[in-house]
């Protein structure tokens, strides 16, 4: 079972080569760091003093995640998850996948795993991009004023991991929807409506119950300005939603009468 799963995952990895989802992950992860790098190169006088501050990394982390957490990350997750399943519809390959000697569970899990791995790659690239945006501008503009403080590993590793968990409900729901509908616009349209909903949910006292809002809530929590009650763990909610929607999806998937 595990060997078959690994082989299936290897085949999913090959499918990702030069795919739209692959380029979306690369471009999406490097977009904000590239902008921050360019801004720091253009305005060295404004940013060089910041590098000497102890809070430099937290500021960089905050600036990098600001737009990303509330808007770009959920949109990116919606698009990439939809693109990964859509690839099979677009290329007319579902029937070939289901006519291959793989169990239905293997197909379901390997598709979900490759989506999660792509997301993980996004977070790793984004974090590397943040580090590059700190070290590259001083090198290029010749100021050579590098950040003096140590990199806060807990923030860059655990903080980022929390953003990853915050996105899991979106992955599960989008995976569910994009497997049901051949039309790419259905899953993307639904996802975008949910993002708008999540922005409104931030104003609501029970906004933490909305599955698309955890990335934004995580951002406010990291910045010491939480928008949800202190006794509520958005991580548990997030993980709970992920498990719930994945299970519901799996059950409906297994009992489908027609495939491919």
């Amino acid at each position: 079972m595990i060997t078959t799963f690994i082989h299936s995952l290897q085949s999913e990895r090959i499918k990702m080569r030069r795919s739209a989802a692959f380029w979306l992950v690369v471009a999406g992860a490097l977009f904000i760091p590239t902008i921050l790098t360019i801004v720091q190169i253009i305005y060295p006088d404004k940013f060089s003093p910041l590098a000497m501050q102890g809070e430099y990394w937290r500021l960089l982390y905050k600036h990098s995640w600001e737009t990303m957490a509330i808007l770009l990350l959920p949109i990116g997750v919606i698009l990439s998850t939809s693109l990964i399943t859509q690839m099979e519809f677009k290329n007319n390959t579902w029937k070939q996948v289901y006519a291959s000697p793989q169990s239905l569970s293997t197909i379901f899990l390997s598709k979900l795993t490759i989506t999660l791995l792509m997301m993980l790659a996004f977070f790793i690239l984004f974090t590397l991009g943040m580090l590059i945006s700190a070290y590259l501008p001083p090198l290029l503009n010749g100021t050579n004023v590098f950040p003096s403080a140590d990199i806060p590993i807990d923030l860059f590793v655990w903080g980022t991991l929390k953003f990853f968990v915050a996105c899991l409900p979106i992955v599960a729901i989008q995976y569910f929807i994009s497997m049901q509908f051949k039309n790419f616009l259905v899953s993307v349209g639904f996802g975008l409506v949910m993002i708008v909903g999540s922005i409104f949910a931030l104003q609501w006292k029970y906004g933490y119950t909305f599955p698309y809002s955890y990335s934004a809530l995580q951002f406010f929590e990291v910045n010491g300005n939480p928008r949800h009650p202190a006794n509520i763990s958005t991580m548990y909610w997030s993980f709970g939603y992920f498990l719930f929607f994945t299970m519901v999806h799996y059950i409906t998937y297994i009992y489908r009468k027609e495939r491919g």
Binding site: I14, N91, A99, P101
Partner: protein, 304 residues
């Protein structure tokens, strides 16, 4: 002879409506090239999808290599290659990368990649993305994918769709070679008998979900022999038909000519004499024969 595929009382309907497959008992002998014929909408693709487990079986049974598909799906699919309807290929990848995807699943030797690419004439495509291939090339790549794991059974749904005459000829030769040299049983569907009559050893004809004929190509040809007839072309067909009818020789007028069942030499002489002696001009008296296509059409139109 053992059967590679056997279906028993297969029944299928979409959303409980009209039966698309009705008590289908299909027997595909091992080592055969089996033509599965029927007009569009006859139930060919649904049958093939049932055989591959793409549709859940509602009633009846599918056995492949003597194993039930319901309980041995994975073991069976390891031995089966398929091409259902349009080509299934990843357009953003090269031909080789497309094969690599399936190599990982089937765990066949890497050397098979070049081997099957060579078979289907795509070894020179290099870095060209499959999305930029012509329809014929895409179809051939799909065949290569279905052959990658050296299957014992190939299930092909209208594999010549969209191919030009040269492509059809090449596909036919390839399938013949796979059958004769590698012993692969091939089930190939088509809506044109003329397209596959030079390829297949066995034929099944399906219409509205029901099997109309199943047997060897020779058996179908003998049906053709039984359908031989005589043609008379005269200046007054109605009068001529009336005259020969009086002597017990029944016929009908089709396409401006009299068609009768086969007669003895003596009966032909009598008919000729009757026509001419009554002042009717006789232009033609010849033996006619339905081609396989018209037999196919007769079979599927018989109960319409």
């Amino acid at each position: 002879m053992k059967n590679a595929i056997q279906t028993n009382g297969l029944v299928h309907s979409y959303e409980g409506k009209e039966l698309v497959i009705n008590e289908l008992n299909l027997c595909v002998p091992e080592g055969s090239i089996f033509g599965f014929l029927g007009p569009n909408g006859a139930g060919k693709t649904t049958t093939l999808r049932l055989l591959l487990g793409l549709i859940k079986i509602q009633s009846g049974e599918v056995k492949i290599f003597d194993q039930s598909l319901a309980s041995h799906r994975i073991e069976i699919l390891k031995r089966v290659g398929s091409l259902i309807e349009s080509p299934s290929i990843y357009g953003h990848l090269t031909a080789r990368e497309n094969l690599l995807i399936w190599q990982k699943i089937y765990q066949c030797p890497m050397s098979r990649l070049d081997e099957v690419l060579q078979w289907v004439g795509l070894s020179g495509t290099g870095k060209k993305k499959a999305g930029k291939f012509s329809l014929g090339m895409k179809q051939r790549l799909s065949i290569a994918i279905s052959l990658l794991h050296s299957p014992q059974l190939l299930i092909l749904d209208e594999p010549t769709n969209g191919l030009d005459p040269q492509g059809i000829l090449e596909m036919r030769e390839l399938l013949k070679e796979l059958n004769s040299k590698h012993g692969i049983t091939i089930l190939v569907s088509s809506h044109l008998l003329s397209e596959i009559e030079r390829l297949v050893t066995h034929v099944a004809i399906i219409d509205k979900g029901k099997l109309k004929f199943q047997g060897t190509l020779q058996a179908l040809t003998s049906v053709q022999r039984q359908s031989e007839f005589l043609i008379f072309d005269t200046s007054d067909n109605i009068q001529a038909l009336h005259l020969i009818g009086k002597r017990g020789m029944e016929g009908y007028i089709d396409n401006g000519k009299i068609h009768t069942s086969l007669m003895s030499r003596q009966q032909i002489a009598t008919a000729n004499h009757l026509i001419i002696s009554n002042g009717i001009e006789l232009y033609e008296c010849a033996a006619g024969r339905n081609d396989l296509e018209s037999i196919f059409m007769n079979l599927i139109q018989h109960e319409s």
